[in-house]
Symmetry: C2
Subunit: 894 residues, 2 copies
């Protein structure tokens, strides 16, 4: 470490770094270096590395000895390129100090702009720019920002002074303030800092610089950055880099501007230049959403039906220059870029480029089009789509034919439709969601503090800010629908109302938002299923060519089965037969069965259930057209089927011809301390074989019928749950075979089927070789396997899961993503032992992990034959499977 | 198999078999052969091997071709020795057909006696014996037995005929019946068989013989034999042998007799000849307990205060001959023998010898005395004691000073005292026990059908039968106290009463029995602790020299700790701190803590608990005098400490100064679906660190104080429960160290302690290497590890455990004896991984398996350092550990 190079310079058409050095320089620093090398107009600067971040943290916020010299050398280089001197009283070099981590964390860490201004240099800046108002405005912005970020003088102190000054002088807008106003405010800001801290605002630009560097590095560990990292699986050890760059000003009059643009539309993926800019403004004004920005292009202007002049009209030459930058960067990076630029007095400066965040829909369109255009390969296109991002494409959107009562309109900031109760604070949103409610978070504008609430909400609505406002960017990243900048609406936090068009919505009222159109609607609006053709269909066809893992769906109703087929499921991996018993006309027989005093009574009730159950399977087999269907025999404890409320008990008692006391007594007798570990799964089949016998009969009678009717062989896979020993399995395996041969004889048809088990207990994993002697397939029930391996109830872990994630005990919720170390090793053991005895044993998983991309990759690595997940997640699982296969190729290539 | 020898002859001072061929010939057959070879007077016969049993079962009850010839040759040899012919009408050879398995299974299988009698040979027997009455009595016994066992004509048919005949002829006792009566009865028996079966009673002795052989072999699979095997872990595959032996008669008048004797007293172990006999009786009369037998020796006669003449007085020459046999057999077998003999017309015949069943107390005395006498080695003495048999020595006996209201007296058939509610049938006993009640089973006499009820009962009382009656033998085997043959009492099954001395006891009333003295007492009588000196102390000193595994006790109260020390525990392996919070003056603070709304409130309540908890540990450390003490931090879910009844809730609410609704709400909030898998164990320590902090402070303050006061270093072992990951462990490990160093500084003393964890989750086993990086010891919590590995709740498995044992899914209850395949493998993995990282990691188990001999052997094999069990089971665990060590030596020797 003593030989480390801590500082990398860029600017003037050259750079010490490059984009491949992202881990060391952070995304922003690496790309500034790359842009410099490409000859793009980048304000010169230098990057302090992420390695320094670790040094700083582990050395009690001290600097390594060599840093000062390196930094001074780099600063001199900047001064040389700009022809300015840092701290020069006549025409000072000003710099920005910004964080820049390996992964983008928008707005999570701190930034200081206009650094280098003091009571002397401000005069130099006024002289050099010929704009005293600009100079003092810059200085007050600097004091405010530095005061807040570095010195810890809270924001509101400065806001109050500014507001007081306006009130005292009858001024309404910032633009009304003149140089003398800003001078006065600078003085009052300086006094406030001194009175708060007991010492004056630092005047030495070098002190300012070191203070800002420390503060920005420290902000890596602040609370909102930690939360963001947790939400996005960014390791703390990565650290951030810090970029010190010469300031350029978009607020030096009408020939100056600042903007943010995307090489393609980040919302739709359309191959059209897209962005926003503000004349005479600093970049923060665009990003923070304080002023509603202007469209970049004429096309956008028309699309958004605004009168604000576009850059294309307003600054045609600079716009043309920017278009060239766009082409150069996209061709260079071969991905959609998100750029920041500033125009200072007629000259274009590029402040940042990075791969742009985009909606799932846009990601899909961009990847498919870039591949079709030969810019990237099909494999690369498949790799480009975050599987989780498909989620937003696979969920319902508003039915265009549904009645809509439009209440207001904003920007279509993140696509998809959502519906929920209005919450006016992140905290409210979180606590309502904790109670099981669906929520739309409604804010004037959002800030990084709102992240938790945004994550909890179904959708987000803001009345201020543009397409690149905090709310819009974060919502797209999270896949939440968002309508931003709905300016004709009014939020009153105190009264907890949202008003507009003469209607008042209160907290808790239901609204619907359409993030694709920017519409806000009253009440709940009907939704429709997404289209799965077009770009989606193309990508999925590539995915299907690449992946090795098959993907099935968990489904039991005809509706679910149809959805599964539509989403491309290659069979049903888990059909939970217990879900078939809750229909009112069935549950009564189910209860009759449970309440029967003896086997004879149970068999009578089961005889009544048989035709229903058989019809269920006839439906499933017919819909699945010969694809494999795995049917799990009854799994939950019987008391789940019994009523608990008095009126229901009375009803059941009457129907069963017994008294309520008996029903209550039987329910009490079935009560268990730990039902998860009680009389359920195959234990029911051992104790009451007649239940499983009925189910097997229904399966085989249905398969015989559908095979005869369709002429296509139906091959059901009969799955016995919760097996813990070979003996258990063999007893029930023999039962399945016995019933199959009975039905085969009765129906005079030879039946094809597999018999296997769910592997969901640690003991089953360890004894997999014994169980595999007769079991023809294993389906890992990772929900229960996680519960038993961890000794952790999914239903009960909510009370401490957060503590566990906060303290870093769980990196992720093990019920969402498979725990590789514990559960994963058991799965590995089971696979190895199972295959040793039966080399062609069919292996799959059917826990909810089947739809989690990280878990799908794990399943691919384990060499499973298939995963099974909810129908809506089938394409996600397929994409993750394809990416896992591509990862293997990478290793083979290497 | 085609070359198998199926038949082994014995008799006439020679034999083809020997006692070492027990597996092939069964215990009875092997010992009959051995006795023959020793020159003892054994009626000649032959044994059909246990291999035949397997052949017979797997060949659909067919015989191998070579059997007939072998059997005929063997029968001829018997005829030659006896000088009689089988089926000879003038003086027929009669034979018995008896089962004889590798392990003794008294009364579980069938027997046929007097075989070879028919309408012709009975006349020959009458002539030859000169006793027509005897001949026809023998014939009717044969028809009755053969009818029942071979032909399936139930017993009561014959009983009815006999009773009718007596009534019709005004006869009271069997002895009142004369030859003509038995003749008439033989005719009626024969008619009954014919009318029941539609064909006559078989007259051909060869048909009789083959029928009996098949029936006896088949009886290996009967229901009571299966139950017995399950209770005694005897594999079905062993099979039984069948012995065909020439009959000798103890019922040929007053110069004939039959008896059962033991070379030493099977109840006390005293080195005194001991037995019972009956003049003019067949062996079954003694064993079945139908007639109350006479003592063998004068000493016994005096001890039992009976007037019945002893054999020593009555048949002094034969008695002397029997004493010689006793000496010869005990010196030959080097173990206490249980022999059966018959005197036929003044000649002694030995019918059986085997190692005698004995009480734990007797086993101990015999082993120690035989070793002291040089008959066996100390190691052999240690091997001789079944660890489970010690149990009866370690439990309380009646306090001799307690008030006793003696209600009746019987024979001291199995030692120990027991107290419970009277049940008059095995079924009643079982269902009362299932409800959690303690039961004394009261029967006129017991039969093999009663085994389940005897097992369930605390003790057994019979009003008929002797020391070798079914009740007595089985009770001793099971370690249940038993008073047998309490003849002055009267049982009325219909009225459900036990009466005597003018008192009437009803079903459900409480009585106490003293199996060591044969007393029956009214109500519940105070008990005292057993003496642990004498033979017990001698044996345990040998055990301590041999064993390698250390044995600790699970204890938290001073009483338990003192008991642990008394029983020789080498430390405390599990001190469950939650048991310390239920005292009325503590529970209130515990509840205050749980009901507190915030950490501050919790800390206030915990501060009040600290002094109590500290005192607990001061006590424990003082009692344990420097032995290691493992303290488990709080483990159960908090709701276990909260009240559920309305009045208690009101009380708590008042004490805590809140309203009942709040208490109820908090209780409801703490409710969990599966508390076993919920917020408990170390999860409490993560979520509410203040609880564990208080406990650690109490531990270390106590250890500091006791170390100072006693001058002896106290080394507590702090155990963190329910660890599932390294992160969890490390956070809490650091907490323990922090508190220790705080206390160390405050008390100005350096503290020694270990920090470790309970390994009780499958994930902890798999991640043992990671956890061992900081953990200094592992204690396997095999209760919870069994629950999670099997996904099986101990509290809820009762509803199906029986089904699982009946269907052979569980060979034994996995909560009683460690499951080697599943749980065992996880333990093995954890040991291997833990030792890889920390070679000197201390390893033990503290689940209830720690006191189960089979599990102790497993722990020894796994190389654990110690087991911990309930104080009463410490000697059992020590003995099992010594036997495990001896087993190793055997392998080394071999």
């Amino acid at each position: 470490m003593t030989e480390s190079k801590w500082v990398y310079s860029f600017g003037g058409g050259a750079a010490e770094g490059k984009s491949a050095m992202r881990n060391l320089l952070g995304g922003k620093g690496a790309n500034l270096a790359e842009m410099s090398s490409l000859g793009l107009p980048v304000p010169p600067g230098f990057t302090i590395t992420t390695e320094f971040c670790a040094y700083f943290a582990s050395h009690d916020s001290n600097y390594p000895a060599s840093l000062r010299a390196e930094l001074e050398a780099a600063l001199t280089k900047v001064e040389d390129i700009m022809g300015l001197k840092f701290g020069d009283a006549s025409n000072p070099l000003l710099v920005s100090v910004r964080s820049g981590a390996r992964a983008s964390m928008p707005g999570m860490m701190d930034t200081v702009l206009n650094l280098g201004l003091n009571d002397e240099t401000v005069k130099g800046l006024a002289n050099a720019s010929g704009d005293e108002r600009f100079a003092y405005d810059s200085y007050r912005r600097f004091i405010q920002m530095y005061g807040d970020v570095v010195l810890g003088v809270e924001h509101y102190h400065f806001e109050d002074i500014l507001a007081d000054h306006k009130d005292d002088n009858g001024l309404a807008f910032d633009t009304d303030l003149e140089a003398k106003d800003w001078k006065a405010i600078v003085n009052r800001y300086s006094d406030k800092v001194e009175s708060e801290l007991g010492k004056p605002f630092p005047q030495d630009p070098n002190d300012q610089l070191w203070g800002a560097i420390s503060a920005v590095f420290r902000s890596w560990m602040n609370n909102r950055a930690s939360i963001y990292r947790k939400l996005h699986d960014i390791p703390e050890s990565w650290g951030t880099a810090v970029n010190i760059q010469s300031m350029v000003f978009g607020n030096m009059g009408d020939s100056s501007a600042t903007g943010v643009c995307f090489t393609r539309n980040p919302s739709t993926g359309e191959n059209a230049f897209y962005g926003e800019y503000l004349v005479n403004a600093q970049g923060e004004d665009v990003v923070a959403g304080i002023r509603t920005p202007q469209p970049l292009t004429i096309a956008e202007k028309e699309f958004n039906q605004t009168d604000l002049p576009s850059m294309e009209e307003n600054m045609p030459i600079l716009y043309k220059e920017l278009c060239d930058v766009r082409d150069k960067l996209e061709n260079h990076y071969k991905d959609m870029q998100d750029m920041e630029f500033t125009v200072q007095d007629g000259k274009l400066w590029m402040l940042q480029t990075r791969n742009g965040k985009r909606t799932g829909k846009a990601a899909l369109k961009i990847a498919v089009e870039m591949s079709n255009d030969g810019l990237i390969s099909r494999e690369e296109a498949v790799k480009r789509i975050e599987p989780g991002a498909l989620d937003q494409l696979l969920h319902p959107t508003l039915d265009p034919d549904a009645d809509r009562q439009i209440f207001g309109k904003g920007l279509p900031a993140s696509p998809g439709a959502a519906c929920g109760k209005v919450a006016f604070s992140a905290q409210d949103a979180e606590s309502m969601v904790a109670k099981g409610e669906k929520v739309i978070l409604v804010r004037i504008e959002t800030s990084p503090e709102d992240i938790g609430g945004m994550h909890a909400a179904e959708g987000i609505l803001t009345t201020r800010g543009g397409m690149t406002s905090h709310a819009a960017v974060v919502a797209r990243g999270m896949g939440r629908p968002c309508v931003a900048g709905a300016g004709q609406m009014n939020v009153d936090y105190k009264a907890r109302t949202l008003s507009g068009s003469g209607v008042i919505i209160h907290g808790g009222d239901i609204i619907t938002i359409d993030g694709s159109k920017g519409e806000v609607l009253l009440g709940k609006v009907r939704t429709i299923q997404p289209e799965l053709t077009g770009d989606f269909g193309v990508l999925m066809s590539w995915v299907d060519e690449i992946r090795l893992l098959k993907v099935r769906a968990n489904a039991e109703t005809p509706e679910d089965a149809k959805t599964a087929v539509k989403f491309g499921a290659e069979g049903i991996g888990l059909s939970r037969t217990e879900h078939m018993f809750f229909d009112p006309e069935r549950i009564i027989h189910m209860r009759e069965m449970i309440l029967a005093g003896d086997e004879k009574g149970r068999r009578q009730a089961l005889d009544k259930l048989l035709p229903y159950q058989r019809d269920d399977f006839v439906n499933l087999f017919t819909i699945m057209k010969g694809l494999p269907v795995t049917i799990r025999l009854l799994d939950p404890p019987l008391h789940e089927f019994l009523p608990t409320k008095d009126d229901e008990i009375a009803e059941v008692a009457e129907a069963a011809g017994i008294d309520a006391t008996t029903v209550r007594a039987r329910t009490a007798a079935l009560h268990e301390s730990n039902p998860m570990l009680g009389l359920r799964g195959c234990r029911l089949g051992i104790v009451h074989p007649e239940i499983y016998e009925m189910q097997c009969r229904a399966i085989f009678e249905a398969s015989a019928r559908v095979s005869k009717d369709s002429g296509q062989t139906v091959v059901p896979e009969v799955m016995i749950p919760l097996i813990g020993s070979k003996q258990e399995y063999d007893i029930l395996h023999n039962m399945v075979q016995r019933i199959a041969s009975e039905v085969s004889e009765e129906a005079a048809i030879s039946l094809e089927y597999l018999t296997g088990t769910m592997i969901e207990l640690p003991r089953a994993c360890l004894l997999a070789d014994k169980i595999a002697e007769n079991a023809e397939f294993f389906s890992f029930g990772t929900n229960d396997l996680t519960q038993t391996t961890y000794g952790l109830s999914r239903d009960d872990s909510g009370s401490f899961l957060e503590h566990y994630q906060d303290q870093g005990i769980f990196e992720y919720d093990p019920f969402v993503s498979i725990d590789h170390e514990g559960v994963g090793e058991l799965i590995e053991i089971a696979i190895e032992r199972g295959r040793k005895v039966r080399s062609d044993i069919k292996l799959g998983i059917c826990g909810e992990h089947g739809g989690d991309p990280a878990s799908v990759i794990f399943c691919h690595q384990m060499g499973l034959d298939y995963v099974s997940c909810s129908p809506y997640r089938v394409p996600i699982a397929k994409l993750a499977a394809a990416q896992a296969a591509l990862k293997d190729e990478q290793f083979i290539d290497a």
